[in-house]
């Protein structure tokens, strides 16, 4: 599903060139869930932005569902995102002037899917927020907002879901709810999940864990939990 070949990212700062990512190569299979863990500033989010086509690599190649992301322009990448990718962010990133229901409808509408409203209502029901359909984001709690964001991410039944610290802004109880929901929908839809987190407990729930450190990615031995699931 995702293949990266020696991707790097270098930015220009006032003090010269700064390499944020060392050459990184790895693969993510269809339906697999991976967690990218690491300390703040290690380059996790940068890697996510490159994988999701939100930013461009300095060198190297990325293939997303066989599409050469590294050679697509912004418009083509947007189209690809619209068709195949879902997102969940730490700060929810809901459009403040749209209601919960309308936020969920947004990707479906952008993609030009029919019956966006019906789909949104169904999935809002799935996340247990049918009664909050017409509330604006600032009228919802953090946990509720993230559940809306999850619903929005899944409405288009994306092939890949990128989640950036999905529970980072939530308390424990809400974190558990959101995690459970995320993995349930992931299983139901069969989505490939790429999750960036520094929450090791959350990371352990994924099939694989990749560790970012100083811009380099490494994959420790797989956990027994994950191995057994893979075998099963």
């Amino acid at each position: 599903m995702i293949t990266t070949k020696k991707i790097t990212k270098t930015v220009t700062t006032s003090e010269g060139q700064l390499q944020i990512l060392q050459p990184i190569s790895f693969q993510v299979k269809d339906g697999e869930s991976i967690a990218i863990v690491g300390a703040s500033g290690s380059g996790k989010s940068t890697l996510l932005s490159l994988l999701a086509g939100l930013d461009q690599v300095t060198s190297g190649e990325i293939f997303l569902d066989d599409e050469p992301l590294h050679s697509l322009d912004e418009e083509a990448r947007a189209q690809l995102r619209g068709a195949k990718v879902g997102f969940i962010f730490q700060s929810f990133m809901l459009v403040q002037s749209l209601t919960a229901l309308e936020n969920i409808m947004l990707p479906a509408e952008i993609a030009g899917l029919p019956d966006a409203r019906k789909r949104a209502q169904a999935i809002l029901d799935d996340v247990g927020l049918a009664h909050r359909a017409h509330h604006y984001p600032n009228q919802l709690s953090g946990g509720e907002q993230q559940r809306v964001a999850i619903a929005r991410a899944f409405i288009g039944q994306p092939k890949i879901l990128f989640a950036d610290e999905p529970t980072g802004n939530l308390d424990e109880a809400n974190s558990h709810k959101v995690e459970a929901l995320l993995f349930k929908l992931n299983r139901d839809v069969g989505t490939t999940l790429v999750l960036v987190t520094h929450d090791t407990a959350l990371a352990k729930k994924c099939d694989r864990q990749l560790v970012m450190q100083g811009g380099a990615l490494s994959e420790p031995e797989r956990t027994g939990d994950a191995q057994s699931r893979e075998a099963g």
Binding site: L54, R81, F87, V95, A111
Partner: protein, 841 residues
């Protein structure tokens, strides 16, 4: 497209409901409302004033000629739906039973006057009243003075040429009597039908034909376009209200310019507020755009969504603005109803078109740059909130907004000068402000160092914001400057108008006073508690040659502007005076006043001072030799100075003032003026009884009319000032509110960190006070520049300095902006910290 439309509509609807669009909407409503109410009102007022001016022409336009107009021309006028009237006038002798007098004979047809009214009196110098009748055939109405000169009474006969007419009335005022102190022949008004019988207008006599036209402006213009090719410049003269060069005409023209200026400034104010609001709007949509892009929205889709939203806001803003504009101007008209007659029934579409055009152009052109910034927000912003738009070009921003403002001004005013002046001072202001802003940053580093108190916080914010957002500071200054321009311009203009006619302005002139009568007249008036002004000696002389070259002299006064072959002359007898003292309201423009020093001139040549405009018209240079025939004598003079004369004052003014030494041999008559309260009018007969040869010239009615017009125009100007002030204040509020949003985040953080409300409030108020002072100061500077240019180049007034405003503007800026800042801050701080933080998300 339907998805895009419904998405745009949904966003628009929700944002409107949540109050997100209030400021930009308000800005558009304001611009449309202000422009509409101002233009509607000034259109009405201009109409009313034009109507008023038309009454001084007795029509909308006059065609004057020495020959009767072609009958086909008048038939054509009827085709253009114009009404016409006719007057034939000449100077002629009128005879009573014992005495005679030269009179200004005016024979009119029954349609006269098309505009304005004839005023009659119940007896010579008696109570006046307006009439809509005219003398009947066989009758004549006489000027009050003629009853005295001809020694006749109502009901007597007056003989003009071969005809005898019954004196049926006393005419005291006719609309197009003209105002010249020296064309003093009293008027005799009679019917055109009786003119042939007099035989005074036969071949060889000097007769003027005046055809009057009235009708719709467009029709008049179309008719003139048709007529113009057939007119002969040497014979015909077309006079429209706008050609009126009288003090009234000039006041009206100046008022019209002021309305234009005020409307232009309203447009700029609107533009500034829209620019501020659009910038805020764009800033607030960076996140939604990044989200939509992340979710796969294409560039064209985002562009359509936001252009559609701007379209919705603009349409709503224009609709609301139109309603409010109409309401405001109705309120103003209603409030003014008993003071200024502006109740025109004709509805004007031009203001509506201008207002809609202004709203649309402002909304689109001023949101262009913010929108471009918005469109370029990268999707990566969803992960990295610090990432801003990739478009950032001050040149583009200022270039786009600048050309938009200039185009709007030019399109609206169709006057390059006034637009260029305002625009140039705007550019200077902006450039100056940028320099000032950087100066502030340097100064702020020194002033704002030390531990964090309100003062330091305020400076820290200004330092940051001065770099980030100089637009805000500039918009404050532009607003204050525009308000200053409108205010000061109004003050100067009204002051100059009123100064023309101060209380006690002489309302009667006495002419033909002999040397012997002078002392007696002085003491007689003094005994009756009437103060007589200075006596000016006058002799009538013919101006015949310049440097020995003869000039044309055989032209009547009314044709003096017509081009002729040969050297231009004055065209009539000149009233020559002499003095060594420069008259008040006169100023030496070039050369040296002969009274100031002994000038070495050849024997038999005397110094003459010539009025500057007439010198220009007659092509007279300093040092030229001018020859006058006075009686049988020839007087040769040398031009030693040019004088600028304020013709707007009601005092005798002279084209030529000669060295007294040249005039010793002549026996002059004297002219003087005096003020008599209207209530004491009845005393006039008694006052003049002992001096039957002295002629009285009554300008009381005219002065009252002038004063009334000045009052009306001043009042209207005042209302327009209030409208512009209100618009400006609202713009300031919008600006403070917009900038308060930007401070919200910082306030929330400070609050969270435990800063006391008092400290935060004090720092915000201080920040606004400092901004207000700087903006006020810059505004005073730019104001001075624009006023100087406007007054000298557009309003034909004398430029003046306004030092007081250098103090008032920064002070007012500090108070108003500081106060608005305090109110805005109070609103924000009344929210609790959680609410503030939540609003930041």
């Amino acid at each position: 497209m339907s998805t895009v439309f419904s998405l745009a509509w949904r966003l628009f609807r929700h944002e409107a409901r949540r109050g997100e669009l209030t400021i930009i909407l308000l800005a558009i409503v304001l611009s449309v409302g202000a422009v509409l109410s101002l233009s509607l009102f000034s259109e009405r007022l201009q109409g009313a004033l034009q109507e008023r001016s038309a009454s001084f022409l007795a029509a909308d336009t006059q065609l004057r000629s020495r020959d009767p107009a072609d009958a086909a021309w008048l038939e054509k006028a009827a085709e253009f739906d114009l009404t016409t009237a006719k007057r034939v006038s000449t100077r002629s002798m009128a005879f009573g039973e014992q005495k005679m007098s030269l009179v200004d004979l005016r024979a009119v047809n029954d349609a006269y006057p098309l505009k304005g009214q004839v005023t009659i009196a119940d007896a010579p110098f008696g109570t006046e009243s307006v009439t809509d009748t005219l003398p009947q055939p066989g009758e004549a109405w006489l000027d009050s003075r003629l009853f005295q000169t001809l020694n006749v009474a109502l009901g007597d006969q007056v003989y003009i040429g071969d005809a005898s007419l019954t004196i049926a009335g006393v005419v005291s005022e006719i609309p197009d009597a003209g105002f010249s102190l020296f064309s003093t022949e009293p008027i005799v008004l009679m019917r055109l039908e009786d003119l042939p019988a007099t035989n005074v207008a036969g071949p060889g006599s000097r007769v003027n034909y005046v055809h009057y036209f009235a009708g719709e402006e467009a029709q008049l213009a179309a008719y003139y376009d048709w007529l113009r090719p057939q007119l002969n410049d040497e014979v015909h003269r077309w006079r429209a209200v706008s050609d009126d060069d009288s003090p009234i005409g000039r006041s009206v023209a100046r008022a019209e310019r002021y309305f234009l200026l005020a409307s232009l400034l309203a447009i700029i104010l609107a533009a500034v507020s829209i620019a501020v609001a659009a910038q805020r709007y764009s800033q607030r949509h960076f996140d939604p755009v990044a989200i939509m892009k992340t979710l796969g929205a294409s560039g064209p889709m985002i562009r359509k969504i936001y252009v559609l939203q701007i379209l919705f806001i603009t349409l709503l803003g224009i609709a609301l603005g139109l309603i409010i504009g109409v309401v405001i101007q109705q309120v103003v008209v209603w409030a003014l109803a008993d003071k200024v007659d502006v109740t025109l029934s004709v509805w004007h579409w031009r203001p509506v078109i201008i207002a809609v055009f202004t709203g649309a152009i402002c909304a689109f052109l001023f949101s262009l740059y913010p929108l471009l910034r918005l469109f370029s927000v990268p999707p990566l912003r969803v992960l990295r909130r610090d990432i801003d738009s990739t478009v950032s070009s001050r040149t583009l921003q200022f270039g786009a907004s600048g050309s938009a403002v200039f185009l709007l001004m030019w399109a609206y005013s169709q006057d390059l000068t006034i637009s260029a002046i305002l625009f140039a001072s705007g550019v200077v202001l902006v450039a100056g402000l940028l320099v000032m802003t950087y100066g502030l940053i340097l100064l702020g580093r020194k002033l704002g160092s030390g531990s964090m108190g309100p003062w330091q916080l305020a400076w820290a914010r200004i330092r940051r914001r001065a770099m980030d957002n100089s637009v805000q500071l500039i918009s404050f200054s532009v607003t204050i400057m525009l308000l200053l321009v409108v205010l000061v311009m109004r003050n100067d203009m009204v002051a100059q108008w009123r100064a023309q006619l101060p209380e006690g302005t002489p309302n009667y002139f006495l002419i033909n006073i002999t040397q012997e009568q002078k002392p007696a007249l002085s003491s007689h008036f003094e005994e009756n508690n009437v103060e007589v002004d200075e006596f000016y000696p006058v002799v009538r002389g013919r101006f015949v040659a310049v440097n020995g070259e003869r000039v044309n002299t055989e032209v009547t006064k009314e044709e003096e502007n017509a081009p002729r072959e040969g050297r231009e002359g004055l065209g009539r007898e000149a009233n020559l005076t002499w003095s060594n003292t420069l008259q008040s309201e006169n100023r030496i423009a070039a050369g040296q006043w002969h009274g100031d020093s002994m000038l070495a001139l050849p024997d038999g040549t005397f110094a003459v001072s010539v009025e500057a405009d007439v010198a220009d018209r007659l092509d007279i240079e300093l040092g030229d030799s001018l020859t006058f025939n006075i009686g049988s004598e020839v007087v040769t003079t040398e031009v030693t100075s040019f004088r600028e004369v304020n013709w707007q004052t009601m005092q005798p003014n002279f084209f030529f003032v000669i060295d007294p030494a040249a005039m010793e041999a002549f026996k002059p008559t004297y002219i003087t003026s005096f003020y008599l309260d209207t209530e004491r009018k009845a005393e006039l007969t008694g006052l003049l009884q002992p001096f039957s040869s002295v002629t009285l010239f009554d300008v009381d009615a005219r002065i009252n009319q002038l004063r009334e017009i000045v009052e009306q125009v001043s009042l209207a100007v005042e209302f327009i000032l209030i409208l512009v002030l209100a618009a400006g204040s609202l713009v300031l509020i919008a600006q403070v509110q917009a900038s308060m949003d930007e401070r919200q985040e910082e306030l929330a953080i400070l609050r969270t960190l435990g800063a006391r409300g008092k400290v935060i409030r004090a720092s915000v108020v201080l920040e606004f006070v400092i901004i207000g002072v700087v903006a006020g100061f810059m505004a005073a500077l730019a104001n001075e520049l624009s006023l100087y240019l406007l007054q000298t180049q557009v309003f034909q007034m004398e430029g003046s300095w306004h030092f007081a405003y250098w103090l008032i503007a920064p002070l007012a800026g500090a108070v108003v902006v500081g106060l608005l800042g305090a109110v805005g801050c109070w609103r924000l701080l009344s929210l609790n910290t959680t609410a503030l933080l939540r609003r930041m998300v």
